[in-house]
């Protein structure tokens, strides 16, 4: 079955070629292969905050916005208002509440001419329709657009960010698998467990159809075991590659044999346990796993070997340590040094084991800890493309044209997807099974997002939203900066306005000097703040006056262009 991304698939290749042309796709070269990269300096943290003890310092805008920025995509004025009167406990508790499950993705791709998926009427879901002869590519894009939509409309919850975390941790490549229904189910599985039990998640993902395809589990057979999944399960999903991770090649082979039988039927493409493919022998593991023997079982009893495998892997201390390191890298700081390992990772791993692998208590501990609010954490990660683009979009909320239908709106979301691709991140399709290198690749980590190519593209994204409109095939969509300013707390006061704008976009606070430079643009080099105030209230008094509107709009454009290109805007 031509499902593995390494193998050719003419349908997929043709579809992607079409996307490349339509959405101006350029594969960016990220910074990891570059010998000129600057090494990540060792992080500096406050020793007094090097603890998971509950944070007891002031709970002010600075801490609140740090929490929101790390747990959601971007920060909006509504976010500020929602959280401003809540305590840390209340805020974290709300953010750690899962979002309601969204309705499944629908056909938003039939275009009335050359694209006509007749099995699925426009506006209805395709997730139950089974494989499509001609429209898998359209459905994969539809699934990605659905994800973008969920991110754009995210509530006050960590859910969407956790889904990206798990997707990056338990990678499948959707264009590689090229079976959208299975990728939808994969997302559904991630969602089901995203704050829940890590062990259940690993078990379910092991026998997820898209994963069975992606890492060849579907081809695993007692006569010719395919070790691909069994290896990644240990190396990338659970045990990891820490210094004490000493599983052996025999362990990989034994795990592969445990997993024989789990496969996908053809042509129905259903996940089954095929007793005739299952290896009935006992599976002997190394002393890394305490010489565990998983007893070979026949018939449908063979399924239980998967539970034995999970028990064995999760009984090993490395599993909790590894996932806690990944959580830490993703949410707190990419690089983990000995101090962090000792004071943060180890206690978190202990907590994860105590909570029987339910991740929510770990997240709660972390996000309420002294360490998370160490000033050295704030703004210390370079935004990945999703945080960059989706975050900026959420904050600015560009108004959609009134006549924009669901198809055109879909094209806009596709344009966002390929724009994020152009700056290094194709959601649904990490570059390989290890995920995006910026999340794990030492020594450069998140600096890898930024190259001369991608920084230019990022600047073009922000410039286009400010000036001529974010590009999509059917419409260019600029932000309404006057409406944006109007939504803020005190748009007539240039100091408060700029303070709030930079608060929304910047990972760190900027100096008065920088704020004054922006103000200089906003008030066109004038010495008195009230010229802006007067211009703003003149506009407010008569919004239909084109002169008044243009006066404030132009100045907001010039200022916002600079605001969005400052290095601080790339931080979270």
């Amino acid at each position: 079955m031509p499902m593995n991304p390494e193998r050719g698939n003419p349908m997929r290749d043709a579809f992607l070629q079409k996307m490349r042309l339509k959405y101006n796709v350029e594969d960016p070269v990220l910074g990891f292969g570059n010998s000129n990269f600057r090494e990540q300096e060792n992080p500096v943290f406050d020793p007094e905050f090097m603890t998971l003890d509950k944070y007891s310092g002031p709970w002010e805008t600075s801490q609140m916005v740090h929490l929101i920025r790390r747990l959601k995509f971007g920060v909006t004025i509504d976010d500020l208002h929602f959280f401003e009167n809540l305590s840390m406990d209340q805020s974290v508790d709300i953010l750690l509440t899962a979002e309601p499950v969204p309705a499944p993705p629908v056909n938003d791709y039939n275009n009335g001419s050359d694209i006509f998926d007749e099995e699925v009427p426009f506006g209805t879901t395709w997730v139950n329709a089974g494989p499509s002869q001609d429209y898998e590519g359209e459905r994969v894009m539809s699934l990605k657009r659905w994800w973008v939509e969920n991110m754009l409309t995210q509530g006050n919850s960590i859910t969407e960010k956790m889904l990206l975390f798990w997707h990056n941790h338990l990678v499948t490549e959707w264009f590689g698998v090229f079976f959208a229904t299975s990728s939808y189910q994969y997302m559904d599985t991630l969602r089901k467990h995203h704050l829940g039990n890590f062990k259940d998640l690993i078990k379910d993902i092991t026998i997820d159809i898209s994963m069975l395809y992606y890492l060849n589990g579907a081809s695993n057979h007692k006569d010719a075991p395919d070790e691909n999944y069994a290896r990644e399960l240990q190396e990338l999903f659970t045990i990891g590659k820490g210094p004490n991770s000493k599983y052996t090649e025999e362990d990989v082979r034994a795990a592969a044999r445990v997993l024989t039988g789990w496969t996908v039927t053809w042509p129905e493409r259903e996940m089954i346990f095929d007793i005739y493919r299952h290896d009935l022998h006992d599976k002997q593991f190394s002393d890394f796993y305490n010489n565990t023997v998983i007893k070979g079982r026949s018939g449908m009893d063979g399924k239980a070997e998967l539970d034995d495998l999970m028990d064995m892997i999760f009984a090993n201390d490395e599993t909790a340590l590894f996932i806690c390191r990944k959580i830490y890298s993703f949410f707190v700081y990419p690089k983990i040094d000995d101090e962090i390992e000792e004071n943060i990772i180890k206690p978190l791993a202990e907590l994860l084991r105590e909570s029987n692998f339910v991740v929510k208590p770990v997240l709660e501990k972390l996000f309420k800890s002294q360490h998370f609010y160490d000033i050295n954490i704030k703004g210390s990660i370079i935004k990945d493309p999703v945080n960059q683009l989706i975050g900026m979009w959420r904050t600015l909320k560009p108004p959609l044209p009134q006549d924009m239908g669901p198809f055109e709106y879909g094209e806009l979301k596709s344009s966002m997807i390929w724009s994020m691709h152009n700056i290094g991140m194709q959601i649904g399709d990490p570059p390989n099974v290890a995920g995006w290198p910026a999340y794990y690749q030492t020594p450069i980590f998140d600096k890898g997002w930024i190259t001369t190519n991608t920084i230019t593209a990022r600047a073009i994204h922000s410039d286009s939203i400010v000036y001529w409109g974010f590009w999509s095939p059917s419409a260019q969509i600029p932000a309404d900066l006057v409406a944006f300013a109007d939504s803020l707390d005190d748009p007539g006061d240039p100091n408060k306005l700029l303070k709030q704008i930079t608060l929304l976009f910047y990972g760190v606070e900027v100096s008065e000097t920088v704020l004054n430079r922006f103000k200089y643009i906003l008030i066109s080099g004038q010495a008195q703040d009230y010229y802006w105030t007067n211009a703003w209230f003149a506009y407010k008094a008569d919004p239909s006056n084109a002169f008044n509107k243009k006066t404030v709009e132009d100045r907001l454009k010039w200022t916002m262009q600079r605001v969005l290109q400052l290095a601080e805007q790339y931080l979270m």
Binding site: Q40, N42, N376, G379, S524, A527, A567, Y570
Partner: protein, 523 residues
Amino acid sequence: MKRRNFLKYTSAGVLIPSLAGGIGAKAFGLSPLTSALFNVPENDKVVVLIYLAGGNDGLNTVVPLDQLSKLNNVRPHVIMPESSLLRLEGTQVALHPAMKGFKNLFEEDRLQIIQSVGYPNQNYSHFRSTDIWMSGSDADTLVNSGLPGRYLNYEFPNYPVEYPNTEMPDPLAIELGWNSSLLFQGPSASMGMVINNADDFYGLVGGEVEPAPDTNAGDKIEYVRLIAQQSQVYGQVIKEAAARVPSQGTYPETDLSQQLKIVAKLIAGGLKTKLFLVTLGGFDTHEGQVMQGDNTKGVHAELLKTLSDGVEAFMKDCDGLGVSDKVMGLTFSEFGRRIISNASKGTDHGAAAPQFLFGNFVNSTVLGVNPDIPSNANYESNLDMQFDFRQVYASIFEKWLCVNSSDTTGIILKNMETLPITNYDVCSSTSTHEINQLAGKSMLHISPNPVSSFTNINFESDGTPVVIRLFDIQGRQLGELLRGSFPMGKHNFDWNASSLPSGNYFIRITGAKFDQSKKLIKI
């Protein structure tokens, strides 16, 4: 974390003494005959715009000597004693005592004063009036492009497609400082240099950058800045140009002077950049314009000193660097100030005011007559304009940048009579206009143009969807001519323009990667 070294501006590092003054046109005894020897290729000519933000008080800058008694009456709080003023030989005006530098330039025959420049129906809002000066619109129309931006679009119509190129390897225009304005906005693209942020830019020319915090975040900020600097499409040429000028003349320690110093460095370093904008703010002197007890001192005096010393240092530096023949500079401000002064020792927003032009080739005179101060001036009284500011632009375009006079109207958006701003015919050398027209890649051809009814629009597609739209000269969209995806390559269609009123328009083509405007003339 280790301490990092930051780029620091060091003005004290300049060691080469500037050549003594008087190396300008006058010193060489330039005559129309010898001036031909000094003619520079047109593409090398530079205009430096100095924006005096806030509204400069013209009456205390260029004092009309024959009006002094009336001025004593109506602006007692700010008037300066006659004996303190710097008289300009052979004229009826004197400069503010702080403007020694400008007086020197005038005596070197390289300063022109244009009296009472403004526009009809003066607007007294800073923002609106600034936009009028920068866009070159009438007081009652909105124009979305900058007047100099339209000139650049005329000169380099294909920008930014396939720019930089051998014909124009450098930015078309550079805005210094922390400004951002309408000035270099063309009909579609911004014609000015896209500066990712000014820290990157100052980093390129060795200026001061805001230090990044010494935290984990600071480490990332420095990294982003470094890459941003490397990503500058013009970063390398600017860096190289700056590096070619290791030493410069002495400048005062003011922000304006430091901006001008960078401009001189880049000009001498060989950049072909046409326009530079520098800014001096603080002219909005409602109160405390002059010092209690001494009207020749105070905020306004400091500003004028900063301006005139800065420009003088700049011209001397350019002399020393051998580039002063390339330069013409002008000052502008959104308005002058009221005739009568107020009790807070200041002046309120007014109307017309003088403009200064400087350079080796300016006609070193006072254009226009002294304003007539009404003896019964009240709060409503303002100076009448003698010259429209767009006449000054038109003159610079035609007589310095050598734009064909028949093309000027399309840039100015109005027919404007030019002024005698140069003493020499500097536009006799070979034109590079034709070369500039071909620089870069044109994605759009319109033929015939001018058009009376049907014209053929030829465009190039890169395979991504394009849209072709019609705009009026004010930048308002009038209609969409074509939208869709076309295979890579050239395409064309006929378009009927007969219903269009005669005048100037822009046809604009926008794709995912390009945005270009071409002028359309309907007859």
